[in-house]
Every structure is written in C-alpha cells, then in structure tokens.
C-alpha cells in the first residue's frame, strides 16, 4: 500500500501539468504552476497519516488475536471463559463471589474487582482534577492580569511534563502520609491517594484544553455582555464559560480517559489489592496495574496470559467509548448553539 502511494503522487503533478501548460497562454505571465515539492510534501503527509492509522489498526488486531483463545481454545476455556470472568463464581466454596486470584490453586479471574478499582480511582481523579483544572483555566484566562497569566499558564502546563513515576513516589511517600493523618482511612494506600495523585496528571490536560477553549471565545462576546451592564463575573459565568463548554467538556472526558489508562502512579499508590468494594479508603487494584504487574511473570499463551489481553481489550473499549463520548458532547453543544 505504502509502496504504491509515492509513485502515484508523482504521477499526479505530471498528469496535471500537460493541460495547465495549454491554459497558460491565456493566464497572466506571472502565474506559475505550484512547485514540484508541493506534491512531495503532500505524499509525505499522506504516508505519515497512513502509518499512524496502520499502527493503530495493528494494535487492535494484535490485542484481538491474543484475546481470541478465550473464545476458541479448549485448554484456556477449561480454566476461564468470558462468563466466568464476568459473573460471580462459587470457586468450589459455598457462596458465589467475585475474585481476582490468578496465582492461587484454583485460579480466579473475575474482572469485576479490577473494573470497580479502575472506576473508583478514575472517578476520584476526575472529581478532584477536573474542577481544579477548570477553575485554574477560568482564573488564568479571564481574571488574572496579563503578567500573572504569563507565569501561570506555562507553570501549570509544566505539570504535564513530570514523569508519572515521580508523581508515584510523591504519592507513596508524601500524599499517603497526609491523607492517612487527615482522614485516617482503612489502608494507607487506597483509592483516594491514587486518585489524588492521578488528578495531578489530568489537571494540566483539562487546564490546557479549557484554557484554550476560553481564550478562543471572541472578545466581542465579553464586550457585548459588559455593554449590557453585566458584571465581569456574570460575563465569565454566563457567556464565556458556556461558549467554551464544548472544549471544557472534551477536556474532562479526555482527562477521564487519561486517568483510566494511567499505570505507573496507580501501581505505586493504590495498594493493589483486588477487593470488591466501593469504599474509597481501601487498597485498590486497577486494570492497568494488573496488566503491568502480571504480564512479566505470565507464561506465554497460558490462560492467565490470554485473560490479561482480554483486560487490555476491555481497557481499549473503555478508551474508545470515552473518545466517542467526547466527540458526541462537542457535537451536541455545537448543534445547540447553532451555526459557527
């Protein structure tokens, strides 16, 4: 595919140049056909886009292929099936329950504790991070004087550049101690600590997108509101923020996706116990942390290996759904506003 595309794009300018020369007699003398390198640049751009798309498709295919034995292989299905992953099992005991214990005598592969864990931590991260990011964006773009804005914006965006392992260490050593002293939660490492640490990664994301959205609202909107005798704050809350809402909402949803996929921080700060509990104060294990920690020890092709890929597929579906949701939100806001 990529072998044919360059040769085709070389042909395009050649094919076009013949009739153009014929036309050129009527055109003014200064008019030239576009330079040759435009064609080359176009081919390069197309190839790059193609490579990106192919890479994404390959990842999908790879994960799907490795997950497939869960549905087809007898050997794997003797130990685990999609339905034993999803529903409560008795595991040879009296009461049915969900359990993630892949290394025990009877390997237990319930996905529920991991999904609950991922959602708990992600929701905490978004509930903490999104309001902070949005408020910081409103302050920076609408309220702060220019000199302060020029300090704040790069500083907050710098937060995105901190390696997640550093945030993980900070969470493990500092934040865990603080939250333990402040709230005295059940376990030292828990969903609150991990969620708060994760919020540090989504604050800059939400901030950047919200700030961009707010700054690109035309000044004439603010002027129109002020001229009607609305106060500065009323203008910000009733004109600027609503006009920027698609961008802000997209930022929050993308932040959700980012938090869901983040791995290193949750490995370090969540405590990693796969409990079936909605309590925020207990140790929590996420899908991502499970894949990261167990993939290294697993036997290639074993049921456990296949299950980890199934977890990856679930994660991918979640991420896909969040992105579709983000686009939907932006689209519906657009339609409601009408035009532009």
């Amino acid at each position: 595919m990529s072998a044919t595309s360059p040769s085709r794009s070389e042909q395009v300018p050649l094919a076009e140049s013949a009739p153009r020369e014929a036309r050129e007699s009527a055109a003014p003398a200064w008019r030239r056909s576009p330079p040759r390198w435009h064609g080359v640049a176009e081919a390069l751009i197309k190839t790059t886009a193609l490579v990106a798309i192919v890479a994404i498709v390959l990842i999908f295919v790879f994960i799907a292929a490795e997950t497939l034995p869960l549905f087809t292989s007898h050997e794997v299905r003797a130990e685990v099936t999609p339905s034993t992953m999803a529903w409560k099992q008795t595991w040879g005991e009296a009461a049915a329950r969900w359990s993630w214990q892949p290394a025990s005598e009877i390997p237990k592969y319930s996905i529920a504790p991991l999904i609950i864990g991922s959602l708990k931590i992600t929701v905490v991260a978004v509930l903490v991070g999104a309001p902070l990011g949005i408020l910081a964006a409103i302050f920076t773009s609408q309220v702060a004087p220019r000199w302060l804005r020029e300090i704040l914006k790069p500083t907050i965006e710098l937060l995105a550049g901190i390696p997640s392992v550093v945030i993980g260490v900070f969470a493990l050593l500092v934040m865990a101690t603080w939250t333990h002293r402040l709230f005295g939660l059940e376990h030292r490492l828990n969903a609150v600590v991990a969620g708060c640490a994760l919020s540090l990664t989504i604050i800059p994301l939400v901030f950047t997108l919200a700030e961009d959205a707010l700054s690109s609202v035309p000044k004439s909107f603010a002027d129109a509101s002020l001229a009607l005798g609305a106060s500065k704050m009323h203008t910000v809350l009733h004109v600027m923020v609503p006009a920027a809402l698609p961008g802000i909402a997209a930022g929050v949803v993308l932040g959700f996706g980012r938090a869901l996929g983040e791995t290193m921080i949750v490995v370090m700060a969540s405590g990693n116990a796969a409990l079936v509990s909605w309590s925020l104060g207990v140790s929590t294990r996420t899908i991502t942390a499970t894949i990261a920690q167990e993939m290294a020890e697993v036997v290639h092709g074993s049921p456990h290996y296949v299950v980890l890929f199934a977890l990856g597929a679930v994660l991918l579906l979640f991420a896909f759904a969040t992105n579709v949701l983000a686009m939907r939100i932006v689209e519906s806001f657009r339609r409601k506003r009408g035009g532009s």
């Binding site: 005798g229 106060s231 009733h238 409601k336 009408g338």
Partner: protein
C-alpha cells in the same frame, strides 16, 4: 480646531440646543476628550483630539464622518467600553448628569446599565433568541419569569423583529441573518431600559423596511431617552436627528442643528463631506 470651539459654544450654553430641547442642562457633557490607542511598536494612535460637545436629554445626536475618523471611539468612551481595549487611554472629562464617568472609581457596571450600546458589528450570544434579549434583564437581577417574558416580547416588538422570530424564540440566535442579528442586539439593549442609547450604525444592513421601522422606533424612543447614533447615511442623519456632529480625522469639526448642518454648514470640510466630495 480649537478656534472652532468658541463660535460653536457661546459661554451661556448652546442657544440652538436650548431652543430644540426642553431641558436646559445637558445629559452628557464631553470636555476636551482625547483618546489614544496603543499602536504597533510602542507608538500611539491619537484617535480623538480635544473633542468638546454636549448631548441633551431626549434628543437624537447623529455622528457623521468618513471611515476611521473616530465615531465608534467616541461612542465607546460614553459607556467606558474603551476600558476593555488593552492600551487604550482616555483624557479629558465626560459628565453624565454632572458626574464624571471617567473617574477611576466610577462604577462602570451601573454606568453601562444607564448608557446602553449597540455595536457596529452585532454579536448575538450563542444562546437562544429569547435568552439573548433576556440576558441583560437577568444580569441586572430580574428573576420574575413573566416580567422577563413581557419585556423580551416588548423589546423584540420595538426592534421590529417580533414578527420574524415569534415562532422560534428558542432557536439559536447565531442562526439569524446579519440584519436580524443587528435588530436582536437593539432589542437586547432596549430590554434593560437605558437612559442613553448609543447606536453604532444600527442599520448597516440594507433592508429598507427594517430601516424605516428602526427610524420610527428612534423617533418614538426619543420621548424618554437620549440617543447618539453613528450613521453613514446623510439621509438617515437628516431624518432621525435633531443635531449632527461631523468628525474628521479624530476631531470634531462642527456640531449643530441638523437642518442647519445640511443646508448651511459652517465649515467647508463639512460641506464637502455632506455633498459627497470625499469620504
């Protein structure tokens, strides 16, 4: 230009204006107004130079002059909208019923409630038509839904937009045509019942029916409010205004009764402009 001023303004006020308007004390007094904009590379544009003029209660003052002469700038000073332009600087005095509105601690929110403005480029909010007109009312703290509805309908009616939008008040205002958007902005400004209304080319959309209706409205509004209107149309200035001010290159060249301005202008530059020799 300073030489024009004494002849325009005799010490005891403006006799011409006193004849035209019942109230002797001006609504707005502009004294020695200068406006500067920050240009590129640290320079400044002197957009208005030493402008002195009065606006009397319940009159329509038309501002005319070639493009870029400072008409919009002058309007924006009257409700302090120049504050929102970074680097804009204003010197001189503007008094609203004797109070200096350019004073640092003057409450601009209250000022803008009293002195409403319709911009040259209409900018509806990305909200419904209804919410656009209700915006100012709500911003001023009116919460009574029926009262809001009543005033919105009245304002749309006065701005000659009601018939066109009465069946789609919940539709997005950004879907309106240019001329409709302009009338929406007029309705929006009228809804909050200002004392002074600043109109920056309110009828630039070439729609004779809407224009006629708007001019009717201006004649009607004049009964209880003061209007300053910028217009590029000499005919419109002649039709709606009692007095006309001619701006040229940042200076107020001449201000006087509209009839006299259009028949016997004192300045040759005014005459040139009115008769279409430039601008």
């Amino acid at each position: 230009m300073a030489t024009i001023e004494p002849s325009q303004r005799s010490p005891g006020g403006e006799p011409r204006a006193a004849v035209l308007t019942a109230a002797p004390s001006p609504k707005l007094e502009v004294r020695g107004l200068d406006v500067f904009y920050r240009g590129e590379k640290g320079g400044e544009t002197h957009a208005l130079q030493d402008v002195t003029v009065d606006v009397f209660p319940r009159e329509v003052l038309a501002l005319i002059g070639p493009s870029g002469c400072g008409k919009s700038t002058f309007l924006r000073v009257l409700n302090r909208m120049n504050d929102t332009i970074p680097g804009a600087r204003v010197a001189g005095k503007v008094l609203l019923e004797g109070e200096d509105i350019l004073a640092k601690d003057y409450d601009v929110v209250t000022l803008r409630r009293r002195v409403g403005m319709v911009f040259q480029r209409p900018q509806p909010f990305p909200k419904s038509i209804f919410d656009n007109v209700a915006y100012g009312l709500r911003a001023h703290g009116l919460a009574d839904k029926r009262e809001i509805t009543r005033r919105v309908e009245q304002a749309l009616g006065r701005a000659a937009l009601w018939d066109e939008v009465k069946d789609r008040l919940d539709a997005a205002a950004l879907g309106l045509s240019g001329g409709q958007a302009q009338r929406l902005c007029i309705a929006r400004a009228l809804a909050v019942e200002p004392e002074v209304l600043l109109l920056d080319e309110p009828t630039s959309a070439p729609d004779p029916i809407a224009t006629a209706k708007l001019e009717e409205l201006i004649a009607e509004l004049k009964a209880d409010l003061t209007i300053v209107i910028v217009t590029h149309s000499m005919q419109q200035a002649a039709r709606v205004s009692q007095r006309t001010a001619f701006f040229y290159m940042g200076r107020l060249i001449e201000v006087g009764a509209t009839k006299q301005m259009f028949t016997r202008p004192r300045e040759t530059r005014t005459e040139d402009y009115i008769t279409g020799r430039f601008g």
